[in-house]
């Protein structure tokens, strides 16, 4: 909108490259502001929601309903002493919190907020997202390695193993979408969904795999083993304090928001509303979906225990990877048959349930004995 205004006003007055630069800068600043304000809102939402899930009030002291709590948090964290522990690799130690912010932010670049409102409307949006997502592990390893702390190092080792493993099902689950829509462009994917129905319905299996794999990449419970508060103190950012820590903290929320935005673009129809409710602006729909997804992430975090690293890896390689491969074949066949949307939905939903159940049953054949454990034994048996 602002960009359109710039173009309208200065067209003919200024050279074209300058206009391009100006629109680029305003867009980038807009996205940056959006991401940061989302991170602040996210802190409030998560603390409030988790408070309510724990039958507490959550923050309610600073400002109305505690709305200023994130700002108070930020002031507190920044006001703390920045400690550089003995024996750290100073350059890498200082660089890690700066670098970690970039991948989270870059994801926003290709997400279309509304029709035509993506900062970078590249043809390979999906590939870009995958590439940038994989980048996120590097600063974590930098932080863990440079901290000169064994807990940090273990957190970093876990982070690498986990991210590399979950990258594969993450990418494979996106292949199905690309097959159906026939394009790598984010906007095309959204347009396809507006026409044919959300990918959440068309490919429920892919949506589930993507959600799980993405939450693993975000290191949220149940897959937050790289932070693992009760195991590794705080994982890779154990040794950070003050402003550097606040960057890790803000990044965590920005990243969750980036992934929520991605999921709402890829699986929930982006800005599209379906056949009805077209009166509300597209961007509102998009943001509403993103916040809803964020709440789902918070919800899982408040409920579930954490998996062990070997179980997490086994889950990626033995469960998600085969299922995502099957999903690709399935989608390829369905695309080839060119069936109507409702049939695709029915077939996919049924197959998803059958596949998950069957595969899980196959994997956990040994675990069936737990149900048979009887704790109160009849008196005669004793």
């Amino acid at each position: 909108m602002i960009n359109q205004f710039i173009i309208d006003t200065f067209a003919g007055v200024l050279p074209e490259w300058l206009i391009a630069l100006m629109t680029g800068v305003t867009g980038a600043v807009g996205v940056l502001l959006f991401a940061l304000s989302c991170a602040l809102a996210a802190i409030w939402i998560e603390r409030k929601l988790i408070g309510r899930m724990q039958i507490r009030y959550g923050p309610n002291r600073v400002g109305p309903k505690g709305l200023l709590q994130p700002i108070a948090d930020a002031i507190k964290v920044i006001g703390k002493e920045a400690i550089t522990p003995f024996g750290v690799d100073k350059v890498v130690y200082a660089a890690a919190p700066l670098v970690i912010f970039i991948p989270a932010l870059l994801t926003f670049a290709v997400v279309p907020f509304a029709p035509g409102a993506a900062l970078l409307n590249v043809d390979i949006g999906v590939l870009f997202v995958v590439a940038v997502g994989a980048l996120g592990v590097m600063p974590i390893f930098m932080a863990g390695w440079a901290s000169n702390n064994k807990y940090s190092l273990m957190g970093a080792m876990r982070a690498i193993a986990q991210t590399v493993s979950y990258e594969i099902p993450l990418v494979l689950s996106l292949v199905g979408l690309v097959l159906m829509a026939g394009s790598f462009k984010m906007e095309d994917l959204v347009l396809y969904q507006i026409e044919n129905g959300w990918f959440l319905l068309l490919q429920p299996l892919a949506a589930l795999i993507f959600f799980i794999a993405a939450s693993a990449e975000l290191n949220r419970t149940p897959t937050d083993i790289m932070e693992g508060e009760s195991e590794l103190a705080a994982g890779y950012h154990t040794e950070y304090s003050g402003f550097k820590f606040s960057l890790f903290y803000a990044t965590e929320y920005t990243h969750v928001f980036a992934v929520s935005a991605l999921i709402s673009t890829l699986f929930l129809g982006g800005w599209g509303t379906g056949p009805v409710l077209d009166q509300v602006p597209a961007i509102i729909w998009f943001i509403a979906k993103t916040y809803l997804l964020f709440c789902v992430f918070v919800w899982t975090r408040a409920t579930l225990p954490r998996l062990r690293i070997d179980q997490l890896m086994a889950f990626a390689w033995k469960f998600l990877l085969p299922l995502s491969l099957v999903n690709i074949m399935l989608v390829a066949v369905l695309v080839e048959l060119n069936l109507p949307g409702i049939v695709v939905f029915a077939v996919n939903a049924v197959l998803a349930v059958v596949l998950i159940k069957g595969w899980a049953g196959l994997l956990s054949a040994r675990g069936a004995t737990v149900e048979q454990r009887v704790y109160i034994r009849p008196a005669a048996a004793q």
């Binding site: 975090r301 954490r306 704790y375």
Partner: protein
């Protein structure tokens, strides 16, 4: 197979999940534990020696501070030991009140144990707070009875310090009416959870033989399937008048211990129902001098505290203070087989296993 150099990690004394100040020197190969050496004594406060400087009545409030999550059980143990030593008989109402308090304490303590175990597994959200909410109800009842929420100093040699207030019975009945439903809800929330099962089933297995030879007791022992509950085997107070079952585990893994605690809460509620029904009127304390001077001799009393067999060994030389005061602390002995349980597991399992032991460092180090 790539092997790394083993490296040493100090888990604790300052660590989020070592239940206070337990320190484990772990030798790790990547995630695998090669060796573990527990280091104790960070909370040592010389309580046993301190007791030898106090009169018998004054020992009771100090036992509160040992196992601070089950202070009623500690009070009960030391009171029974002193009664044995001095030949005091507590009236029947006091015996019933003691059973009621001990069982309420078991409910509170197990609720806390479950909550902390879940916290250790990484479920840092809801489940923890739900269990703490239920524990809070028991603490309210205790506050009503004896004026304190954590260190009760209620059960004394010769009975209990004072009779329960009139609002006590309705409060306990109210608790018994609402709690089982909540417990069912939480059990549904937790025990069927696949992640929790994945983390606990087959983890930290203690065989029957190891459990017996290491001197385990309480849910640790019963989780391994050994039918040993002092309330059944060697009933003290009036436990022989109640019908209740002893839940037993099958394999001896963390899941068994977790479930045994769940079932023990239910059995405690059963005992509470019966005890409230049979609660006789009458005196709640036999007159006992402020300074008890038992005849020279010794006494040993074991009770079933929420963590296991809690024993008090007293030696009297006829004076006003015990000549020797020794505590058989179940938390301490339950740590006895850490090496066998932890070696070969991963760092995440270490946290789960230590959490399932349910230690209280105040009791371990005394």
């Amino acid at each position: 197979m790539v092997t790394a150099n083993p490296f040493l990690v100090n888990m604790g004394p300052q660590h989020p999940s070592t239940h206070g100040v337990l320190r484990l020197r772990l030798v790790l190969d990547g995630e695998k534990v090669l060796n573990v050496e527990p280091v104790l004594g960070y909370l040592h406060s010389s309580k046993e020696k301190l007791q030898e400087e106090h009169t018998y009545l004054q020992t009771v409030p100090i036992t509160d501070r040992m196992d601070y999550l089950a202070a009623m059980s500690n009070n009960l143990g030391v009171a029974l030991a002193i009664e044995k030593l001095a030949g005091i008989e507590a009236p029947e109402r006091a015996q019933y009140l003691r059973v009621i308090m001990a069982e309420l304490q078991r409910v509170a303590s197990h609720c806390f144990a479950q909550a902390v175990f879940l916290q250790d597994l990484g479920a840092w959200g809801g489940p923890l707070m739900y269990f703490l909410r239920e524990r809070e109800q028991v603490l309210d009842i205790f506050e009503m009875v004896c004026g304190a929420r954590l260190t009760y100093n209620y059960i004394r040699p010769g009975g209990v310090s004072q009779d329960v207030p009139p609002e006590f019975l309705p409060a306990v009945h109210g608790f018994l009416a609402t709690f089982p439903k909540k417990l069912d809800e939480y059990e549904g929330l937790l025990t069927k959870n696949e992640i929790l099962r994945a983390r606990t089933v087959g983890v930290g297995v203690i065989s029957r033989e190891l459990a017996l030879s290491a001197g385990f007791s309480g849910p640790m022992l019963r989780g391994s399937g050994v039918d040993w509950d002092l309330r059944k085997q060697d009933p003290y107070c009036v436990y022989d008048r109640f019908a209740f079952d002893v839940p037993l585990g099958h394999v001896g893994d963390c899941y068994d211990r977790f479930m045994v605690r769940f079932y023990e809460i239910r059995e405690s509620l059963r005992i509470l129902h019966q005890a409230l029904e049979q609660l006789p009127p009458g005196e709640w304390k036999t007159p006992v001098p402020i300074v008890i001077r038992p005849p020279a001799g010794e006494a040993f009393q074991l009770i079933e505290s929420p963590r296991g067999m809690l024993g008090y060994y007293l030696v009297s030389d006829g004076g006003a203070a015990p000549w020797r005061f020794h505590v058989r602390a179940p938390s301490f002995l339950n740590l006895g087989a850490l090496n066998e349980m932890l070696v070969g597991s991963t760092v995440a399992d270490v946290v789960a296993i230590v959490g399932s032991i349910d230690i209280v460092m105040g009791e371990v180090d005394r």
